[in-house]
Amino acid sequence: MTEAEMRRRLHRGNRQDFEEIVRYYTPYVMTILQNQLGTEHTEADVEDVCMDVFLALWHNRERIHSDNLRGWLVRVARNKACDLVRKKGLRTIPLEDLVVVSDDHALEGLDQKERSRMVRDALHKLGDSDREIFLRYYYYEQKINEIAGEMGMNPETVKSRLKRGREALKKILEQEGFLHAD
């Protein structure tokens, strides 16, 4: 079933269709959440968040017009996982993953769409492969070895290209005035 057909079925509001959609996407959403939540959370935590994601899908089914249903689910799953991680304060952030925003209120002050546009534009200035590695690592929270396995690369290559992508993105966002230079 294509994403567009999934969305059409979702709009019908039929329980049987919805159950099929949940069954189809559950392994993917669980994989995303397991990556996001890591080993600091129990399987029950992961299941609870997964359930929240699909309930959000049901309650928002009328408002979803994008055919990228998978992308919508990942975004919601990621945001819910981030909320849980922040709430529990479990994550330690490596120094290299910190960036300095140019204004204390930059994140809150920027309209969500504007921020997404800025980040998307910056990401698209990276090469395809560097962008994919960046997204796999920072968006999908895959481990270096996992990325290397899926992309058929040496883990050291992934690390060096991740570093290159990170630096390039920082530079672009600095030029945009969104980030301070380190």
Binding site: M1, T2, E5, R8, R9, H11, R12, G13, R15, Q16, F18, E19, V22, R23, T26, P27, Y28, M30, T31, I32, Q34, N35, E43, E47, C50, M51, F54, L55, W58, S66, N68, R70, G71, V74, R75, R78, N79, C82, I93, D97, L98, V99, V100, V101, D104, L107, Q112, R115, S116, V119, R131, E132, L135, Y138, Y139, Y140, Q142, E150, R166, L173
Partner: protein, 300 residues
């Protein structure tokens, strides 16, 4: 202010990367929990619909006699009022289930036959089919979990015949019109629920199928209906036609927005529908036991 680089990606939506999913051993548990948490669709059983169904049975019986005697294809029965007397004197229904304890309308003889899809020659608007909200036969098969590598139907049949067509307006389903083909395997569990009061009805045999014409007026919703989860689905007066195929057991449901279309539009749409029958056994969640190389087009 230093922040985690990941925060830059809050609310970002990616469509470029698909990661490899891991097997999910607890998928069934999650699916069950989600479905339990979703409110059940309201299954109301208006008395009026019971009258309608009973009347359909009477009409079908009469129509059947006419068919035997004349040996010609039965014509559509003229609309008629349903009286309470008819209900009281009807003890057996033909294919429309009269025990409405689980669903608004059930089909007691329904059983899984082969998968079907449809093409529609007449649509009230000239919009290209791509602008419709639709489900193709391919989508139906994939939705039912068939392994597509074992399906040898033509691309034309898979991608240009449909099980659902909906003229969508302003991003929501309706209020244009909807044509849906409910597979025989799904008929028994499908709930036809109409909000408000059913203000007009006729019934009879049409195109070799058992038909029920309804018009519902959701402005006469009960308070419980108005606050239910599904209330948004039906906000406008709509005409409906339900056609049940007595041997192939599928159901065609056509609904049109009454403010824009006359009830006769239902018949025009129905007359333009061609059903394509595959040799693929129809199971709600099963695999694909039979593949088909040969498709028999045409109405059953």
């Amino acid at each position: 202010m230093p922040i985690d680089i990941r925060r830059l990606l809050d609310d970002y939506e990616d469509d470029s990367v698909v990661i490899r999913e891991r097997p999910c051993l607890n998928a069934d548990t999650i699916v069950s929990r989600v479905m339990e948490a979703i409110p059940e669709r309201k299954q109301r059983i208006p008395r009026k619909l019971m009258w309608m169904a009973a009347a359909v049975a009477v009409t079908c019986l009469l129509a059947g006699c006419v068919w035997v005697v004349s040996a010609i294809r039965l014509q559509q029965v003229e609309p008629g009022d349903i009286s309470e007397n008819e209900l009281e004197t009807t003890t057996e229904l033909k294919n429309w289930e009269k025990d409405y304890s689980g669903a608004l309308i059930e089909f007691e003889d329904a059983k899984a036959t082969n998968l079907v899809s449809m093409t529609v020659d007449y649509l009230p608007e000239d919009d290209p089919i791509e602008s419709y909200n639709f489900v193709t036969l391919r989508g139906e098969l994939q939705g039912k979990g068939y392994d597509m590598t074992g399906i040898y139907l033509s691309d034309e049949l898979l991608d240009q015949t449909y099980t659902y067509l909906c003229m969508e307006e302003t991003g929501r389903v309706g209020p244009g019109y909807v044509i849906e083909l409910i597979q025989s395997a799904d008929v028994a569990t499908r709930i036809f629920s109409l909000f408000g009061e059913v203000v007009t009805v006729k019934e009879g045999e049409f195109l070799g199928m058992e038909g029920m014409w309804l018009t519902n007026d959701p402005s006469k919703k009960t308070e419980a209906e108005a606050t239910s989860e599904d209330a948004y689905l039906m906000n406008d007066v709509c005409h409906h036609l339900l056609l049940y195929h007595p041997t192939d057991h599928y159901v065609i449901h056509i609904a049109v927005y009454a403010e824009r279309y006359d009830i006769t539009e239902l018949d025009r749409i129905a007359e333009g529908i061609t059903i394509h029958t595959t040799d693929i056994a129809n199971k709600p969640n099963g695999s694909c036991p039979n593949q088909s190389y040969d498709i028999t087009p045409g109405r059953g």
